[in-house]
């Protein structure tokens, strides 16, 4: 036994020493190293190949740090690193809702953007969203917007000539198709699937319902808390009535992937989702995977509500430079290079990341390769941002309060009027005296 103890002690020491070797393997290099903090970009190999090209041209080492897939964790990790003034990361990919939160710790890319001549090429709405008090926190890298997916074959089968233009139409079409398909033997067929879990995705979905019905966008740009209004209440009540009728009972736990799996298996007539689901439905990036709906579905803008206008929540990712970067100029150059039209086009064709510049959608190569995006240009152009810039650091709390209230209505714990009365009071307490309660602005 003593021998064993000695052996164990030696092993222990050896392991510690080795562990030092494991992590400390930073060799002395002449080249500067840039570290990029990435979330989900898609095919990692393709992405690395693009970065490597720039790295080789500029004689720089570029290392990628992949962050957590969960957006909440991603932001928390990022905040922790920035708070520690870490020089470990230079270029940062961040969500469209974070410019307000990250602004204090990011470099102003405004001057560099001005000099590059790319400023007027981006969608103005996205660039405006990334600008906090005149400071350009990040460059729009790729975008996202809520879309309506529909089954072309089923629409034809049940005699509908076009996808639904209003929510009311969607309801009746979904009901007809669902009844018909169930009678035809598919017992698990549903009319409409969407994202009803209590999470950021529900904020997007519910914002679309509320906004398209003239119910405003929760907190308006002029600091008006507008959520407690008739139009918003009606919109949420309508959605709550879908649960268990045209949408499965379990939709209140669905996230993007849950909805996509149902739709892609051919078990739903309509789906609200982001553009990524299109590519997967057609068989993946190279189109080789078998799917039940290949060639049998289309995408269009979401239905309009009582306001007569449709709405799509704005998503997408930006590239910014950490204020604590040791190589801010290099990192800025990389950000500009990655968001330049050529690279955006390449990312769209290889990685299906949607461009943030309208001109790219009319590029002949793009039109030839992916004709379906051409019709969606207005959707991306008019996508509605969530109230993240006006609420800045408090956006998370606002969003949690909002999706919790909506989820309570969807799961029938509260009626919409009570939920939004409570929500209004909660937002008032949360946001403080600078914000005031008021009616949503009229839709122009």
């Amino acid at each position: 036994m003593p021998k064993m103890l000695k052996f164990l002690t030696i092993l222990l020491i050896a392991a510690f020493v080795f562990s030092g070797v494991f992590n400390g393997a930073v060799s002395a290099q002449e080249k500067p190293t840039l570290r990029v903090f990435y979330g989900s970009v898609g095919d990692i190999a393709q992405d690395e190949a693009i970065l490597k090209r720039w790295a080789d041209e500029n004689n720089v080492n570029v290392e990628i740090v992949y962050a957590s897939q969960s957006a909440t964790e991603y932001l928390a990790q990022l905040q922790q690193l920035l708070a520690a003034r870490s020089t470990d990361i230079d270029l940062i990919q961040f969500d469209v809702i974070w410019p307000g939160i990250l602004a204090p710790n990011m470099l102003d890319l405004g001057p560099a953007l001005e000099a590059s001549g790319m400023k007027d090429m981006f969608y103005p709405r996205i660039l405006a969203n990334n600008t906090v008090d005149g400071k350009v926190v990040g460059l729009p890298w790729f975008t996202d917007a809520g879309l309506l997916y529909y089954r072309t074959d089923l629409l034809e089968k049940y005699g509908f000539s076009a996808p639904p233009a209003t929510w009311a139409e969607l309801e009746s079409m979904a009901k007809t198709i669902q009844d018909g398909e169930r009678a035809a033997g598919n017992a698990e067929f549903w009319g409409f699937v969407w994202q009803g879990n209590a999470y950021e995705g529900l904020t997007c979905d519910a914002l679309e319902w509320v906004f398209s019905n003239g119910g405003g966008s929760i907190v308006e740009v002029d600091k008006t808390i507008s959520i407690n209004n008739e139009a918003a209440i009606r919109a949420i009540e309508r959605a709550a009535a879908w649960v268990g009728t045209i949408s499965p009972e379990g939709v209140t736990t669905y996230q993007e992937e849950d909805a996509r799996r149902v739709f892609q298996a051919g078990n739903a007539a309509f789906m609200r989702n982001w553009p990524y689901a299109y590519v997967l439905g057609q068989g993946g990036a190279d189109g080789t995977q078998e799917t039940a709906i290949k060639g049998l579905f289309g995408v269009t803008n979401l239905p309009a509500g009582d306001s007569g206008k449709a709405a799509a929540a704005l998503g997408g990712w930006q590239l910014g430079v950490s204020a604590y970067s040791a190589n801010p100029d290099l990192a800025t150059q990389l950000a500009l290079w990655l968001t330049a039209p050529e690279q955006q086009k390449e990312r769209w064709l290889k990685l299906n990341n949607l461009p943030t510049m309208p001109a790219i959608y009319t590029d002949p190569d793009v039109l030839a390769a992916t004709p379906w995006v051409a019709d969606l240009v207005p959707v991306f152009e008019n996508a509605s941002p969530r109230p993240s810039t006006v609420t800045a650091a408090l956006y998370n709390d606002v969003s949690v309060a909002f999706f919790t209230a909506v989820h309570d209505v969807l799961t029938k714990k509260k009626d919409a009027a009570t939920a939004f009365e409570d929500l209004e009071l909660e937002l008032e307490n949360l946001l403080g005296s600078e914000f005031s309660v008021g009616a949503p602005p009229p839709i122009e």
Partner: protein, 284 residues
């Protein structure tokens, strides 16, 4: 009468076998489900109703997992971290457990409570403090940080379990040793420690699994150093070929790959765990 006993004998045998089968299915079915999910292409994975035997078998998920450097690196890191943590917890913990279980001194109750109370805080609420500490000790981004911090949850557990095992050992052995002129410390490592071998193996195994499964610390302390990340973190970073896509099949393939070493470990230590029978018999 004899026939009767025969009947109850067979009924017992069949009932017992049924019980074994039931336990087997209960514990293994989800693992089987992970395995077949890893072997199915996505089109079959999402179809209703689910198939209990894959109709098309594809190895692309496993191929993707083994092509993923971060995952393989993670496996190695997890192995190193878990082994070191277990050895450290057992060495340090068995000392403490012997003192608490066999030696005479005041305040034992409080010491045990203090040790236990270290594990009463939720991991998340001590995380920011730990993050600062790890930074100050210069361990951020290295697996050393994990080896050290994992002791927070493995050590108290080890001490408590081993203390109870030490207490359960018969006193006569120790008396005999003392009569033979052994010091208490010699008694500890020459006589008592070997006797608790099965307990050490069992406790070690549980500690190993706890360390192997840890996620939050590893995520936080190695964020910017992918080379130091453990396998649980590597798996949660799997991305599909399209952003937003959760590659369920690949995650399942990875979970199968991660679980197999542990099953092998258990099979290897089978005999050790069985030895517990003889160790118990010594007690008399």
């Amino acid at each position: 009468m004899a026939g009767n006993r025969n009947f109850s004998y067979w009924a017992g045998r069949i009932g017992f076998s049924a019980l074994i089968v039931l336990i087997f299915l209960y514990t293994a079915f989800p693992f089987y489900w992970a395995l077949i999910s890893a072997l199915k292409p996505e089109s079959e994975l999402i179809q209703t109703p689910a198939t209990f035997f894959p109709q098309t078998i594809t190895l692309q998920n496993f191929e993707a997992v083994f092509r993923n450097d971060a995952f393989l690196r993670g496996l190695l890191n997890s192995t190193v971290v878990s082994i070191v943590v277990v050895i450290a917890a057992l060495c340090i913990g068995s000392f403490a457990a012997y003192a608490l279980g066999r030696l005479k001194f005041g305040g034992k109750r409080w010491i045990l409570y203090v040790i236990l109370s270290m594990t009463l805080f939720p991991q998340i609420s001590i995380l920011p403090g730990l993050f600062t500490l790890v930074n100050q000790l210069g361990m951020y981004g290295s697996i050393t940080s994990l080896m050290t911090t994992y002791l927070i949850f493995t050590l108290p557990f080890t001490v408590w379990v081993l203390t109870s095992f030490f207490r359960a050992l018969p006193a006569e052995l120790e008396q005999a040793a003392l009569v033979d002129g052994c010091t208490p410390f010699q008694t500890f490592y020459k006589i008592l420690l070997p006797l608790t071998a099965p307990a050490l193996v069992t406790t070690g195994l549980l500690a190993f699994i706890a360390a192997w499964n840890e996620y939050l610390f590893s995520l936080t302390f190695t964020l910017t150093q992918p080379a130091a990340q453990t396998v649980t973190v590597a798996i949660t970073k799997f991305t599909g070929v399209i952003a937003r896509n959760e590659p369920f099949g690949e995650i399942m393939a990875a979970s199968v790959v991660v679980t197999v070493p542990l099953i092998v470990l258990v099979l290897v230590f089978q005999r050790r765990i069985v030895q517990g029978l003889t160790a118990g018999a010594v007690k008399g």
